[in-house]
Amino acid sequence: MSEVLTTARPEAKARPAGKKKKHPSVIPGFGLTMGFTVLYLSLVVLIPLSAIFVKASHLTWPELVNILTDKQVLLAFRLSFLTAAAAALVNGVFGLLVAWVLVRYKFPGRGFLDSMVDLPFALPTAVAGIALCAVYAETGWIGAILEPLGIKVAYTSLGVTLALIFIGLPFVVRTVQPVLEDLDKEVEEAATSLGASRLQIFTKLILPAVAPSLFTGVSLAFARALGEYGSVIFISGNLPMKTEIVPLIIVSKLEQYDYAGATAVACIMLVLSFSLLLGINLLQKWAGGASRAR
């Protein structure tokens, strides 16, 4: 929930460059805290997570291929990928805009708006789900306006995308915001006095500086969107082969006691999200390197 919230800001300043002393520390408690950390981590996270891979390893290749090439599963993967990508892109554009407005401009209610950006993190996903569904259903406030225009949001892939946009909003804003805050005004002043227009400054100075963090934010939003469940299932309507997302497939396989099928799909999801996590970590290193190089 709060990965961006918690790391993006301090990380820029934290980590004083390598102060490695080899002699024993006078601070006590390493054995105790480290032991507890590793034990608790193994019990709560590592052993349960390994269960999925062990269970999946019982499957033979043909079985696995059979499960994953099922039309319903393939369509769900397609829907999840496309909607998550669309939502991440929308968030990339509007998240940058919101971060820009919050950092650069002064207007009444800015502080309030700034804290409301975290609402999707704080609001339980089920609540977000039923609220979005109520707003964008044909009888809802906004759904009723869009309906005569021929735009259906609820129970379509557009609705799924909308829910994912909601969920992903804070990721982009919160990764881009600190970078925009740290931008050196003097560089812009120099560029202006050398005759650069605002458009040139934005595309040649500001955009390259925020690009790494923008990419990170977009990929975080995408990763979160792939696995999202609670906020999507209400507005999607879960029409078979049409608006079923991958997490829903896992749930419905579980409900039919198809543990092998659920595990196979979940396994793919895990591999996907771990590779995304790895990619995002590399991206963040790149972003950190870029900001230090400036």
Partner: protein
Amino acid sequence: MSAPTPTNIPPAPQAPRPSDDPSRPKLRRLDTKQAATSEPRWFQRVLIGVALLYLFLLLFVPLITVFASALEKGVAAYLHSFSDPDTLFSIRLTLLIAAIAVPLNLTFGVAASWAIAKFEFWGKNLLTTLIDLPFAVSPVVSGLIYVLLFGKQGWMGPLLDRHDIKIIFAVPGIVLATIFITFPMVARELIPLMEEQGKEEEEAARTLGASGWQTFWHVTLPNIKWGLLYGVILTNARAMGEFGAVSVVSGHIRGMTTTLPLQVEILYNEYNYVQAFSAASLLCFLALLTLAAKAVVEKRVERSANATVLK
């Protein structure tokens, strides 16, 4: 982004001036109110307007809808929703789950960040990454792993069956899934904070003869208290609001395994909108409280950071 338009450049004075000499490069005249590194006023307004509209449609309209739908049939109906025994039960269960999960993860978070921030050891980066793993896992998959472990067909299933212990489709499973989902939060809040503070103060305390616990209580804890508080608030909010993972392990048994978010789902699916949104409004209050707490804590941290600079 903001090509100067004729509208915001004041008309040039008519009288000939030395600067009108064509051989000299023309300087762009700027609005006196506008800094050289900013956009024209009208452009700022447009951007602010777009951002406001976007956030209004995406964040505020759904939030207002929850309260409007909860109060659709009046305050009496709203309050009456909470006399439903299933809803009352789900509130109590949610509080119980949070009361178990939050202290456990708090203890872990403090221990992990102490080990990671105050010591150098091999594999530190790996450990930090492993702690973050639950954030990368889809909530549904988080629930599934416990079903595979403790379910009827799971590893421990037969053993648990023999001793008549129920974990899946019972409260322990919900607690486990909640712990998994909220696992990294306190640690993620504390590790950067404690790394930034370094270990000089603790070392000084030890040199002056303080015991390990004394050092923690009197030196470290006062330094991290705001971050810790926010970590706990976040963990609590997430623990009370988790839906996907809990929904997989709970089995939706009314009056036995329905937490508040699951109760919202059940009521909504039964077209019992007023009650569903009334229950949802409680979770909205929780979210708004969390955001308010975050704003307060951020101010405190900023103030204490300024105070240390002044020292």
